[in-house]
């Protein structure tokens, strides 16, 4: 089965379909519904013939690092960056049957309840993982 990486973003990507305030500003019941959906999101894939290999969340703090040259300390910066630069919030690594299958799971992830309990319509970035070995033919 090919692997796909589904990325969630804190910012970046297409114009939001539905603009919502940060999670901590939602009504408590909406927060609960959202978090409960997240906890069980991998069940969809299990019931639909795939599996989540790994899912992780990232903190928003970011450090850019590069080689500083011989005998020099690494060069570190936290900006300035363009306002629109991507900030990844987390990922699902999934085993899916096909690109279409991964897209369907991404759509399900994006249906997570938002304020008022209605879908959030969050954009999900779907990427195919390159396999390491030579292709069979």
């Amino acid at each position: 089965m090919p692997k796909y990486l589904l990325l969630k973003h804190y910012r970046g990507g297409p114009e939001p379909y539905r603009a919502v305030p940060p999670l901590d500003e939602w009504a408590p019941a909406d927060v609960e519904a959202h978090l409960a959906f997240q906890r069980n999101v991998d069940e969809w894939l299990q019931q639909n013939g795939g599996s989540v290999v790994d899912a992780q969340a990232l903190t928003p703090a970011r450090t850019w690092v590069r080689y500083g040259g011989p005998d020099a300390a690494p060069v570190i910066t936290d900006g300035p960056l363009p306002e629109t630069s991507d900030l990844v919030a987390g990922w699902f690594m999934v085993d899916a049957e096909s690109h279409q299958h991964a897209v369907e799971f991404a759509a399900y992830v994006s249906s997570e309840p938002g304020p008022g309990g209605t879908p959030l319509y969050e954009w999900i970035d779907v990427r195919e993982v390159m396999s390491a070995g030579p292709a069979d033919d």
């Binding site: 901590d24 408590p28 927060v31 928003p60």
Partner: protein, 395 residues
């Protein structure tokens, strides 16, 4: 004694290993050989329980050592030596544990190596179990352990070690995890209990008390959905009263020595929380007095022990008012101002003082900096709750 009981098997590991090292085997090789014997025991014993589990482990480990070093023809001679060993006493058991803890917590090792080696050589866990407990691949953990043992290679292991390092390592094991397949907190308590057999040092007893008194609240710390329940909202009926009673007993015996230290002080604070029938009945005045003692243990507590100053600020808030508590946290801004806990404590204090908008902002700032999903979700909920200006249910 039921040799199939995993606890019995694990408890034998330090005794067998200490026996091997004491009779002159190299720590590194002996520990490897015993690990092989342990894995073999887990496989074979359910079908063929040994008559004398300790002798069985010693024999299999010895055979392995002999195979490794001198070839199979020396085997019989060595086995005769093994079986000629006198039966051990209880004192020896405590001594064995202490001796091995000093080996595993050697100051040349990094804290993560000390923890891994302690769990394997003293805790009797397999490499796979330790890897699972820390969510790393087994190969990574195996590498970490062999690197640690390489560092120990040639180091003299006959001098008494640093008990403070041992206590710190056990506390790290305790803090590393609850509720996984391998309950590290439970393992740490077991090891601390063994340690208290070997030393009268009050801080060792204080550490055991601290672990017991905190662990007693574990059943109430998460709800059925895995959500964090803060101390003031926990169902106190779910606390483990047997563990609290043991913790208080151990703490009292430690305090009787009148040589206080940070584990005893922290245990005393935990005991006061455990003792309150409801959050409102918490004896904050006494808790603050103990925090005063805790911060007095360092010369410059803001730099050297900021966690204690932050925790004390909560007690200050409850005794002298939220504004006083917040003033205490101000002193920590340069040291902890980027940590989620600093914001979380301020959120609690703002809420205590009735400033709900400031509380919501502080909780949200804390959530933004959290590094643990359960804590992040909890802080988001706290922010949403006070933003919605829901009055807290008073208990």
């Amino acid at each position: 004694m039921d040799p199939l009981d995993e606890g019995v098997l694990r408890a034998l590991v330090p005794r067998v290993l200490a026996g091997l090292v004491r009779r002159g085997e190299d720590f590194d090789l002996a520990e490897d050989a015993l690990q092989t014997a342990l894995v073999e025991a887990l496989r074979v014993w359910p079908e063929h329980p040994p008559k004398n589990p300790r002798a069985w482990l010693t024999t299999v480990a010895t055979r392995r050592l002999v195979d490794e070093r001198r070839g199979a023809n020396a085997r019989h001679r060595r086995e005769e030596v093994t079986f000629a060993q006198p039966a051990p006493t209880d004192t020896e058991e405590g001594d064995d544990t202490l001796f091995l803890l000093f080996c595993c917590c050697h100051p040349d090792l990094t804290p993560t190596s000390q923890v891994a080696l302690t769990l394997r050589a003293v805790g009797g866990l397999t490499t796979r179990e330790i890897a699972d407990a820390f969510y790393v691949p087994e190969a990574t953990m195996a590498q970490r352990i062999s690197r640690a043992k390489r560092t120990l290679h040639g180091a003299r292991l006959d001098r008494p070690g640093d008990l403070a390092v041992v206590l710190r390592v056990l506390y790290l094991v305790y803090s590393a995890g609850h509720g996984g397949r391998i309950d590290l907190a439970g393992q740490a308590i077991r090891l601390a209990r063994q340690l208290t057999l070997a030393t009268a040092e009050p801080e060792a007893h204080g550490l055991l008390a601290l672990m017991l008194l905190n662990h007693a609240r574990l059943p109430a710390r998460l709800d059925a959905q895995g959500r964090i329940v803060p101390l003031d909202r926990q169902d106190r009926g779910r606390w483990d009263t047997r563990q609290i009673a043991e913790g208080v007993r151990v703490l009292q015996s430690a305090l009787a020595a009148e040589r206080p230290g940070r584990y005893q002080v922290e245990a005393a604070i935990a005991a006061l929380h455990d003792d309150a029938a409801s959050a409102d009945e918490t004896d904050w005045l006494q808790i603050l007095a103990w925090y005063d003692d805790l911060v007095a243990l360092t010369d410059d507590p803001v730099r050297q022990d900021p966690a204690a100053v932050l925790a004390r600020a909560v007690a200050v808030g409850h005794v002298l008012g939220a504004a006083e508590g917040l003033r205490e946290t101000d002193r920590l801004h340069d040291v902890l101002g980027e940590r989620h806990r600093w914001y979380a404590v301020r959120g609690h204090l703002f809420e205590l003082g009735g400033d709900l908008p400031a509380a919501a902002t502080a909780y949200a700032d804390a959530a933004h900096r959290a590094t643990n999903i359960a804590e992040r979700d909890h802080l988001v909920r706290q922010a949403a709750r006070v933003r919605a200006a829901e009055p807290r249910e008073s208990s």
